[in-house]
């Protein structure tokens, strides 16, 4: 497969078609999820309930939006308007709708990218390959932020490639906004975003234009990203009183607490295959001196690279979005390479049926790589952060247990999973605690019996503030709190009310 230098296909599809396709795909994704009886996962529940807290004007909502790198603010804020519009009583969760929307947007963006690169009708096969992949669909049904990550990644990838090829201002703006928002979805994407910005910077450095023009390009490309970062720090300072609060968990925690990756181990080889596919496309782009192709594939390879870094830091859980985003990135690279080949064939005078058959053979050969995880997924089941784990039948018993001790006791439920645990709870004894302060609680609830409910520090729960403030609380308790009892994955501590002289 050789590469030829040529302008991008200027033909654009009508805006109505794009929007119409997006709406249809959203409905299809939602309907399929509902038909298959998929439930919203923990992440979706947490984000949605966070938004509801925010809309209710509660401090927990404000703290929850910005206080952790686990839950990037943008991924939550984007649910906010939908949560505002969809009443609580309606059975359609806002996070599910948002995920489905972003999933559909990803597919539409990919289709548009292939079309603009000059792909033939076979582009639909590629889009279908992504759309039917359980690792793409399940997060859409789980209300996860992953479809958002995928969508922004595809947008950034496409626009940076288009920018390098055509220098259109709109592409630069889309790249700038896409990468900034991608950073806002979670810290794990920051490495990839920095890599993308470096690619733009290197491209500018190579160009023979004035220094002021280079700076102007970099400013337009970088400002949204810098602003997002500064805003996050500012919000942490204003709301949590510590500008670096969100990253404290990364700084304080030691190596990650282990735990399984979001994928079954059997799928690792499949992702290694996808990375190899991108690597192959990179080799072809280098051979054809195609700067756009090199950029696209290098940034595609940066995803498993960043995931590898996470794995090295024993944060397998954090690297999952990076790995899962490799699927659309690999398909983008494949579509780009095939579109180039198609144009080369046209230039060489190959007739339409021959071109079509060549592309189809290529696709049929490569499709198993894209779709292969269907088989193990069907057997092993896609391991989403199932809400079943969050259903806590013991919650009424816990309430009884606490009330038996004192009718007006208070239970502070620590961490983000409190938003999923307390879903639908109206009991006044439970309270979210994202930034728990022992002294302040004692002051505010003077004379009351107070409890602290702490989740086992595994996966991302280990990044909750209670764990980096009191590293051994789950195992040993702290001097302010005594072990009371275990409730599922949670452990209850009673706060010592009598203050000791210091």
């Amino acid at each position: 497969m050789g590469y030829v230098g040529r302008p991008m296909n200027p033909k654009r599809d009508p805006i109505l078609w794009r929007w119409g396709l997006g709406v249809v795909l959203t409905v299809v994704i939602l309907a399929a999820g509902l038909y298959l009886g998929r439930d919203v996962g923990t992440e979706g529940l947490v984000r949605e309930n966070l938004c509801r807290e925010l809309l209710a004007g509660h401090t927990a909502g404000r703290q929850g939006v910005i206080s952790s790198v686990w839950w990037g603010p943008f991924a939550t804020l984007v649910i906010l308007p939908v949560a505002f519009l969809i009443p609580d009583a309606l059975s359609l969760p806002a996070s599910l709708l948002v995920s489905a929307l972003f999933g559909a947007a990803t597919l539409v963006l990919m289709e548009q990218a292939f079309r603009l690169w000059g792909a033939g009708r076979w582009r639909w096969l590629l889009v279908l390959g992504v759309a039917l992949n359980p690792n793409f669909l399940e997060p859409c049904w789980a209300g996860s932020s992953l479809p958002m990550v995928t969508c922004l990644l595809v947008l950034s990838l496409y626009s940076v490639t288009a920018w390098i090829q055509g220098r259109r201002l709109l592409d630069l703006i889309w790249f700038a906004l896409g990468s900034a928002l991608l950073f806002g979805t979670g810290y794990e994407m920051s490495g990839w975003v920095v890599a993308a910005v470096c690619v733009v910077a290197i491209e500018e450095w190579r160009r023979r234009v004035s220094g002021t023009e280079k700076w102007a390009v970099l400013m337009v490309a970088l400002l949204p990203l810098v602003y997002t970062a500064v805003l996050w720090v500012l919000m942490c300072w204003l709301i949590m009183g510590d500008p670096l609060y969100a990253v404290r968990s990364l700084m304080a925690a030691g190596p990650g607490p282990g735990g399984a990756l979001i994928l079954p181990d059997s799928l690792w080889w499949c992702y290694a295959g996808l990375a190899a596919l991108v690597g192959w496309m990179l080799a072809l782009a280098l051979r054809g001196h195609d700067r756009g192709g090199v950029c696209l594939t290098v940034l595609g390879l940066a995803l498993p690279g960043a995931a590898g870094l996470m794995a090295w830091r024993e944060r397998l859980w954090d690297g999952a979005p990076l790995l899962l985003a490799l699927l659309p990135a690999a398909v983008m690279a494949l579509g780009y390479g095939m579109a180039h080949q198609e144009r080369a064939d046209v230039a060489n005078g190959a007739n339409a049926p021959r071109r079509f058959s060549r592309r189809t053979v290529w696709l049929l050969a490569l499709m198993p790589l894209i779709m292969v995880d269907l088989v193990p997924s069907a057997f092993l089941g896609w391991r989403s952060d199932s809400p079943a784990a969050m259903q806590a039948p013991w919650l009424p018993d816990l309430e009884l247990h606490v009330r038996r001790r004192a009718p007006f006791a208070k239970v502070f439920v620590c961490g983000y999973e409190s938003f999923a645990l307390l879903q639908g709870q109206t009991s006044p004894i439970f309270e979210h605690a994202l930034d728990f302060n022992f002294d302040k609680s004692r002051r505010d609830y003077y004379g009351q019996v107070l409890y602290l409910l702490v989740h086992r520090p595994e996966h991302r729960n280990a990044m909750d503030s209670i764990h980096w403030k009191c590293p051994n609380i789950y195992v040993q308790g702290v001097e302010d709190a005594l072990y009371d009892s275990d409730w599922g994955e949670w452990r209850l501590f009673e706060l010592i009310q009598a203050t000791t002289p210091r």
Partner: protein, 439 residues
Amino acid sequence: MAVCGGLLLLCAWHPWLTARAFVLTASVFYVIHALYKLALVRFSISVNSELSVGADELAALRNEALPVYSILVPMYHERESVKSLIQALSQLDYPPDKLDVQLLLEADDAETRSAVEALVLPHGFRVTVVPVSQPRTKPKACNVGLDSVRGEYLVIYDAEDRPERDQLKKAVLGFSRAGAKTICLQSRLNFYNPRQNLLTRLFTAEYSAWFDLALPGLSAVRAVIPLGGTSNHFVTRKLKELLGWDAFNVTEDCDLGIRIQRAGYGTRMLRTTTWEEACSRLRFWIPQRTRWIKGYIQTYLVHMRHPRRLLSELGVAGFLHFQMVVGCSTLATLLNPFFWFLAILWFLFRIEALTSLFPGSVFAMGAICLFAGNFAFVYLGMIGCYRRRYWDLVGYALLAPFYWILMSYSGWRAFFQFFADPFKWEKTRHGLCGKADES
């Protein structure tokens, strides 16, 4: 007045509730306004939003096929601009025998008249003296000139303007391509002294965002375009049908843009630039901006005198565009200081009472406007400079918030002046830039 009275009564009856209702309404307004501006920019960048004429089309034009083109140049105390103006107009790429240039001089403006008399005017130039009478406004002078124009098309230039040489030819081709309903073409405006000082840099960033991003967006969606003071090209016959300009309006250009749309005609943007002088002194900039905002208030109230009629004439979409472009832009300038003040109060003193003004969803909207909306407007300024290839000014667009303070100050000055002296025309002084820079 009734609305104001009602609001005051409500405020006296239940001040806290009124304040909350005000904050809620303003937050919704800000969100809609920001989204509207972003949508306009999106249209302007991606859609073929302007009429553009290629060099080959210009080369194919035959001089004998060109119509007579009238140029109106109202001047008042512009002695220092006369020479450069005549030079700039003489350099226009248009057959001199088909040019009809009128220099509109006020009868009591001896300095400009003597400066003009001292020169030998080129072929096609003439002087029209505007008799001394009230109101002393530019539109009144233009109306006097309109009475005696000979051209099929007509354009207004200010004394300090330097239009692109081929602008008239582009306009002729633009009209022929735009269709019979388009009776006005607005050229882009920009400055020839963008780097004179910080004020001109910020002014240029604003102008670039307005003329290179927002107005092309309006043109793309065929919305009302508030014309921009100068370089408006008209079909003369249609302009006469509309009875020219409103002599009492201090932004007669904006008013005329709305009237064109109300009469069932349209305005399009033409891809050509007229270079002007950016006001470089704050003491002149503030009166100029005051006049513009006062004119917008005037225009809004004049057209909203009969909202139902306006709605039926503009249609729902046109009506909403009018509210956004003329009404909301002005309102935002006036509202901003309140919210800046509230934000500063909260950041500095964390006054708890303020939080009750922003319950849940209002807080969310307010936060989005504060952090995303303001950023978007700064970013638009950068994109405007980028699009204009003012690479070195891209960074200066970051200082736009300081510029907004000046705008709001002028806005409130305009608001009070609207009641105290509605027809006062604060003349902008030109000729302060010395040598124009390379642009």
